[in-house]
Symmetry: C2
Subunit: 120 residues, 2 copies
Amino acid sequence: MSERVEFPADVVEIARFAKALSHPARVYILKKLSAMNACCYSGDLADELPIGRSTLSQHLKELKYAGLIQGEINPPYIKYCINRENWEKAKKMLEEFLDENQPITSTAHSNNSFLNILKF
Amino acid sequence: MSERVEFPADVVEIARFAKALSHPARVYILKKLSAMNACCYSGDLADELPIGRSTLSQHLKELKYAGLIQGEINPPYIKYCINRENWEKAKKMLEEFLDENQPITSTAHSNNSFLNILKF
DNA sequence: TTTATATTTCGCAAAATTACGAAATGAATT
DNA sequence: AATTCATTTCGTAATTTTGCGAAATATAAA
């Protein structure tokens, strides 16, 4: 409750990407599309997921809005693929966030102090 | 809507960790605690964040529930620190998820095919 | 033109999240 | 015993998320 009225921009963006990953359906979709570098149809996903088609459609819309996937219309199908550019950006931001720490083994403060030097 | 009634366990867990990171206040807190490997008090955070103390307390509670931080009582203060073990786990799961893909440059399918071999 | 198919949007309800101020807690100080 | 202090919990309200089925859309096939 200081003079700051906003969260830092990078923090907000990390939270935004994390939010896109905060539901199992969306993780599943991204996993499928990114991990196997495949594209697929809404119906393919509907057959594998324990949610209705309209609900799935909403999750796809959210991922599209977050910029993480894109739909290529191929009537009457819509082929969904990863949006590589934004996915790489999300990956970079999240990994940077996750990695910016100094793991110190609780048992020993062995000679890994060079790690700290490297990090700072 | 198939015979599957649940999402895969790893997918659920990734979503759960991502959810813990889905609010700027929580990202800020984790950033502070993990990045600089510091512990701090609720009051310290309250002074830097644009939210009330009771709201902050709720976010701390959530992070504690997610297992990502732990509070060490030191009356009348409570010193919050990263829960290293679970933080490393979250990190591992999220990074594994983020990395399990095959980035293929759109311009050229250059001789990075060895990457695919390494990945699969 | 009618029918079938894949998908989305609409309308709605239930549940979860976010937020705040007031009150409670629990230990230290007076 | 009363006061102070950092923090949390409670009560409550506003907003967002998640979910579904029905209806709409848009194309292909009959």
